[in-house]
Symmetry: C2
Subunit: 502 residues, 2 copies
């Protein structure tokens, strides 16, 4: 914009001049922070009364993020951030075109204080400076990713004008420095649902210090902004059809519904599908076993790893595939116990447990046999049982049967490698035609990007957050009854899995 | 307020619970900062879901300042602050009753960087860290006064929930850390008129860190928030009658008008009336000469000092009185030159100048003669001429004569000691009946207190700021012509001073 140069005879000041120009652009109630105000006189004069002003409008508030001299032609940039319990992903986005310019991800540095949200909450609550440790860890994680993006793309930190952040409720509260203590205590009430708009400088985030940080609202202590973001990414809140959205991470969160209603729940699936609690479990990364083929007579094994690297562990999709194949080969029974009568050098007993060798030491990256133990299998069954029971409990609550679901959208770190047939085979997912299934990948960062691009999407996110009815699975017996029945392969009630029964 | 205790079956979080209670109290769009958000869960539980919430509404924004557990019965406290170039005054106010509980004042610590706004602007602009020095100096001044108030009244800093600040434009910009450079450069455009709402913690002010700080808007570089605050204190913007409001400090700022129109100007009167540029000049304080009587035949002198202390200098009212009495006794002529024919040991010539002894060394606190020199008199005449010419220029602009003024309100540090007859005698103030004159004292802090108490007063202040038309005296010849004619005692045109002419 170009401002009139001031004259001796006018009543004026720099700021009202600027505000009056903004009003001409239909921005009537714009706020400015002290930093921009302090820079204002020099910026206006440096650009000979021409300036480029970035205004963010959010929740009806209009705020000046930056004022730069002259006409700035560089694109408007922002960040879409997914704070996962395990992984953090940052997308660098051109806000004008919607293009993802670059992306960076890494482990959440909070991991040193615990693998899951519960151990982190304990650290925040019980350790002196625990909360500060955890907040600083996630800020450092994000800031390092941002620095990589800035360096790789030859950008200045001041060019980053906004960020949209999605995370589960604990991650969001730790990010903001709000103690998550009560998330873990009955009746499991978080501090924030809708999070106030904050500035990057309030947190020490590596963006323009006046950049606006928007956090997705949480629905409950165990259904957070990452799921709201995911729902935005699925578009299910605008569809006629009943959609089931499942995000399988450390917890299994799921949402069922359409444009008229949305119900959501979280089941403590545990970290099995991310490799946690499994002897050779690993995240989906190069060398992780993601496909298992077992020859039914010889019990010989063929593996496929991510990136075709030497096997170094088993990731979620490998575990699901492996379990399905062990069952098909008759190596385990419906309760997950090994058939000890089978004669194969791969099936053996150690001091602690029965185990099946997937890869021999010589063929692995680790130099030792990669096995699945009976207790690993128990953990996987518990995890798959929890997720399936969550789905069933939601359906029951809505008095629907499984066939009412017209589309199933799978998100989560391992989404892209998941074999749906196998997942149905073990009773993790409902027995529906494969063409009803859809993969979304990291739906949380996808939703964050969508909200970064449009005011309307942002309002929709708020609306979605309010609209979702949270189902607390620990209340009543409905979930527990379902869970007990689901601790079999695929399920106690085979009529729910006609394709497996065949 | 009391919140419903959360249960397992509800969808909820602490913050929405609080917001919903606020909505019941007609507070629909309340913002909360990170600090209060971080404290929220513990505060709500510490008070068993009863809490006292302080919300400030300002410019249509509602912000939570504090959340305290239980029902807090202590009064709501705030500060009214006047940042003068020379003196800073802080009133501690009970916002519910309007009572001024206590007040503290001191010199502005910025004085070490220069006596007037111009030297301070030069320091801010030319010295490295000059701006930071000046901002810190005024913050330290205020914080020390606040600490005194807290200690004397046995209060905690968190109990101070809001402050309203009035200062001239340079003082306001320095307070906010905004370089006042362009105030001094043609066309004299300040950075802010209306100042954004800020939090105490943004400046490091000694109040509750989330306390809201409101600054009065400035009209122009040389008519600041202190004058807008003063107009609020005079109530002139709501009156039918035409009122002249004069604030005589380092500058002479004045406002003429009524409910329909307001015009304002500032004349560089110089610091004479605050004792600046006068050999024995001083501020109004104990021992300052405020009354002078000169026996017409013997030229003997009788003095009255503030607090009846031994004379230690001459303050503004003493200078006006002294000038008037010197003229009445025939010791000076209409141009302010001594009558060298008069035979008195009090009238004498030094190497530099002619001077008149007001007090002999033995009678003073200083141990030396207190004198008025011919060049002191010239300075006083220039100062009084500037103020009178400012008044005349405003009247001319509005095509009014002096008699249109129905009330004259005098504010400023020396207001309470000023003898109006003397001021008319020397041509400082218009020759109007004495009963039209009124003293207001420190109108700036008075207006700040009014704005602290009511939302309506605050809106009125904004309205007043917008309504005032600023007259830049350096444009055109109108002021200069008036000024030249006013460099006599009382004036070149005696018809303007009929009572003196008699």
């Amino acid at each position: 914009m170009t401002l009139d140069e001031p004259t001796l005879t006018e009543n004026g000041a720099d700021l009202p001049k600027l505000m009056s120009e903004l009003r001409k652009r239909n921005l009537h109630n714009v706020q400015i922070g002290l930093e921009n105000l302090r820079a204002l006189p020099e910026v206006l004069r440096a650009g000979s009364w021409q300036a480029t002003v970035t205004v963010v409008e959010i929740d009806g508030q209009q705020r000046i993020v930056s004022i730069e001299p002259g006409h700035v032609k560089a694109p408007l940039l922002g960040l879409a951030i997914d704070i996962g319990t395990t992984t953090v992903v940052v997308n660098l986005v051109n806000i004008e075109t919607g293009e993802i310019i670059d992306s960076q991800g890494s482990y959440n540095k909070q991991a040193r204080y615990g693998d899951d949200v519960i151990t982190r909450i304990v650290h925040a609550t019980d350790e002196e400076k625990g909360l500060a440790d955890l907040q600083q860890a996630v800020l450092n994680t994000i800031n390092e990713l941002v620095d990589k993006l800035l360096t790789a793309n030859n950008l200045e930190v001041d060019q980053l004008k906004a960020a949209v952040v999605a995370g589960n409720t604990t991650m969001t509260q730790l990010f903001l420095g709000i103690n998550p203590k009560y998330i873990r205590l009955e009746p499991y009430i978080p501090t924030v649902a809708q999070v106030p708009i904050i500035k990057a400088s309030e947190l020490g985030l590596r963006l323009n210090s006046e950049a606006i940080i928007y956090n997705f609202p949480a629905v409950a202590s165990y259904v957070g902004g990452d799921i709201v973001s995911g729902v935005l990414a699925t578009n299910m809140a605008k569809e006629d059809a009943v959609v089931l959205f499942i995000d399988i991470g450390t917890n299994g969160e799921m949402v069922l519904g359409n444009q008229d209603w949305l119900v959501t729940c979280a089941c403590s699936a545990g970290p099995a599908f991310e490799g946690g609690g499994i002897t050779f479990g690993t995240r989906a990364m190069t060398g992780a076993i993601e496909r298992v083929i077992i020859e039914p007579n010889s019990f010989e094994v063929e593996l496929k790893t991510i990136g075709n690297g030497k096997p170094m562990g088993i990731c979620g999709s490998g575990l699901i595939d492996g379990l399905s194949k062990l069952r098909n080969a008759g190596l385990i029974d419906r309760s997950g116990k090994f058939n000890q009568n089978i004669d194969s050098n791969r099936l053996r007993r150690t001091d602690e447990d029965w185990e099946f060798v997937l890869a021999w030491a010589d063929d692995t990256e680790l130099g030792k046999d990669i096995v699945l133990t009976e207790s690993d299998i128990k953990n996987i069954i518990r995890a798959k049982g929890a997720i399936y029971s969550g789905i069933r409990t939601m359906l029951k609550m809505m008095e629907l049967d499984g066939y009412a679901i017209e589309k199933i959208i799978i998100a989560g770190g391992f989404g892209n490698f998941l074999n749906i047939s196998d997942a149905i085979q073990i009773g993790l997912l409902p027995d529906l035609p494969l063409d009803k299934y859809l993969f979304l990948g990291n739906s949380s960062v996808k939703g964050a990007k969508i909200a970064l691009l449009s005011k309307e999407a942002l309002l929709e996110a708020e609306e979605v957050g309010r609209k979702m009815t949270y189902l607390e699975l620990s209340v009543g017996n409905a979930f527990m009854d379902e869970f007990v029945s689901a601790l079999f392969l695929p399920h106690t009630d085979l009529s729910q899995f006609p394709s497996v029964k065949q």
